[in-house]
Structure formats: C-alpha cells, structure tokens
C-alpha cells in the first residue's frame, strides 16, 4: 500500500452495443480516507465520462452503490480502499442481476421478489394507538436488529441459491418477511407465512451465510430465515397463529 496510485479494473458492458463485456483499467491517485466510490467517481468525472454506476447518499444508508468489489458484493461508499489491503481493485456489477450498463444493475428482479412477500405492514384494526411495548419485554429483541435493511442487494448478489435458482426469493425479502411475521401488530402474518413457505421460499436456504458475510449492515438473514422455517412448521401443526 505504499504506492500513491490505485489500479482500478472496471467491468464495462453496454447490452445494446457490446456482444461481450470487457474490463477497462484506470490509474487513480490515492487520497486519504478513499472509498471505492471515490475511485469510480474519479474515473467517471475525470478519465472516462461514459462510465455508468449508481450512487446516492454515500454514507451507507440508501444502498444504491452495491458492487462486486475484489470478490465480494459491498457498498462502494462503505468500502475503504485501505481495507482491501491492495492497490489493485476489480470492480464488477452486483451479481445475479441484469445489467443496465457497466456497473449499474437493474434491481427489478430483486424488488419483484421483495413485493412477493407483501413487504408492507398491515396494522390490526383494533390497534388504533402506537403499541405499548417495553424494551425489556424481549418481544422485539430480534426484529429491531433486522429492520435496518437498506435493500442494497448485497445479500442477493452473494447468495448462491439465488444464482442457481431464479425463483428463490432471496435473503433480503425473506428477512423483511420475518420482521413482519414476527411483528405481533401485523394482521396478515399467516398470508405471508403461506408465501414464504412455498418451495421458492425459505426452504431454498441452506445456511451458507453468504448473506451475513457481505451484509453492510451486519444483519444475519440466515437467522431470520431459520425463524421463518420454524414458524412455517408450527403453522403447519396449527400452533402459530
């Protein structure tokens, strides 16, 4: 890391024009606190203006800039160049998603599946006031940890079950389903259980932990999915209502 220069190898592909993708190499000066997002922005602003990528908030809250960086899906804004331990950075688009151009992927399949689990809260009609839930009651212990999902798609890109089965709903959507199914305020939990219990749902997860490995928010979707499996079985025996 002594060199003040970064070799960035960036995936280029325009589906309308190119038959095959290619890699372009760029030399980018290293600055302090440089994030991978700084690298691609430098390239686009000052070297090759035609590069395409997506970003928005640059502080890891919007989840727009997920890319496959040095062998792992990561948020470009939250990945410090220093943390990669090398000056050679290979940047590719997020796996398992169609490519719009270069590093910008089409999140459509991800959100189609997201919508499938009915990701929206439907309050119970009798709940007209904010529920009174004491923090020490333990009722929301695990839900609140898993609510921080920013739908960046890193887990979706990392999941080899998504890669091999295009119907699999994927970790992010299942995690969201869990947060709603475990939420006692919600009215359509059984409906959701019936969705996630189908063959494209929780049963495709085989505890690989790739999602947890790459999640920039340090969530463990595997655990949410396990909780869902348990509830599916309980519901089958009429215990979960």
């Amino acid at each position: 890391m002594s060199s003040r220069e970064i070799n960035a190898k960036i995936f280029r592909y325009d589906p309308e024009v190119d038959a095959e993708p290619r890699f372009d190499e760029f030399k980018v000066p290293l600055i302090d606190n440089m994030a991978v997002l700084d690298v691609v922005m430098h390239v686009q602003n000052y070297i090759d203006k035609t590069l395409a990528f997506r970003c928005s908030c640059r502080i890891g809250m919007c989840g727009s800039c997920a890319m496959y960086i040095n062998g792992k899906p990561r948020l470009a804004c939250r990945t410090q160049v220093k943390s990669l331990g090398t000056n050679n950075i290979t940047i590719m688009p997020l796996p398992n998603l169609p490519i719009i151009r270069d590093l910008a992927t089409d999140m459509e399949p991800f959100f189609e599946k997201w919508k499938k689990i009915k990701p929206y809260y439907v309050g119970k009609s009798e709940l007209t006031e904010p529920a009174v839930i004491r923090p020490d009651s333990g009722e929301r212990e695990f839900i609140d940890q898993m609510l921080d999902c920013i739908t960046c798609g890193c887990c979706y890109g990392a999941c080899s079950m998504v890669a091999t089965n295009e119907d699999y709903i994927g970790p992010a959507a299942l995690n969201r389903a869990y947060t709603l199914i475990a939420d006692k305020r919600d009215a359509i939990r059984i409906e959701r259980i019936n969705v996630v219990g189908r063959s494209y749902g929780v049963w495709r997860c085989h505890d690989q932990f790739n999602c947890a490995e790459v999640c920039p928010k340090k969530l463990v979707p595997t655990k949410s999915i396990q909780q869902l499996k348990k509830r599916c079985v309980l519901q089958k025996f009429g215990i979960f209502k």
Partner: protein, 129 residues
C-alpha cells in the same frame, strides 16, 4: 413506464460468487458428500440384495472382493470420511435449525472439523493397521 420493458433486453448478469466464506465451503462439501452418499446407498442396497439372492456363499465372495481390493479399501476410507463430514456438518446445521450458533457459525464449523479429523484419523489407523 419504459423501465419495465427495459429488463427484457438486458439478459446479461454476472454470477460471481463469494468464495471467501466458510459457510459456502461447508455447504459445497455437504452437497458433494451428500450426493456421493446417495450414490453409495443405491449401490450398497442393490449389491447386498443381488448377492444375497444367490445365497450366503455369493455374499461372502462378494464381501471378500469388496473388502480386500486395495482400491476399494481406500475408497472406503473416503466413504467413512464423507459420512463423518456429512454427519458433523449436519449437526451444525441442526443446531442452526433449532436456533443456536448463528453468531458463532465459523467457530462451530472449525470445531466440528477438528472433531471430524480426529475421528477420521482414528478410523484410518484402525483400517490400515
């Protein structure tokens, strides 16, 4: 509006994987050993029955072949290894299924591997002695 139609023309997607993760390797090995064991079980049941159909002498002859052939002898060690791995990693998976060990999945994997290695070495020593 045009967004939706867009997707169809853009079929290309990369499927790069996360190779650094322990869980990924654990799963791959679990699958490989699993499929191997399925094949073995098919072979095992049919071989047993097909030799027994011809009586106890045929059975003894068959087992003598199976248990003295040096190649098969080493293959058998592999088989035992596969069973040990599949079983121990299976215990790890069962732990997850009852909700234990998510934050320690890597440590659990390596501990299971250590136990498995000891068991396998023990079997190898018995077999080769």
């Amino acid at each position: 509006m045009p967004n939706r139609e867009m997707a169809a023309s853009q079929r290309y997607a990369t499927h790069s994987q996360v190779w650094g993760a322990v869980g990924m390797w654990a799963w791959i090995l679990h699958r490989i050993t699993g499929i191997g064991l399925v094949l073995y079980i098919l072979l095992h049941t049919t071989l047993m029955a097909s030799s027994l159909i011809r009586g106890s002498e045929a059975f003894n002859a068959m087992l003598t072949i199976l248990m003295t052939n040096p190649v098969l002898h080493y293959m058998e060690l592999l088989l035992v290894g596969a069973v040990i791995y599949h079983g121990l990693n299976g215990i790890r998976l069962l732990l997850f299924d009852i909700g234990i060990g998510f934050s320690r999945q890597k440590e659990i994997f390596w501990s299971a591997m250590a136990v498995g290695a000891a068991m396998w070495i023990y079997v190898i020593m018995i077999k080769l002695s």
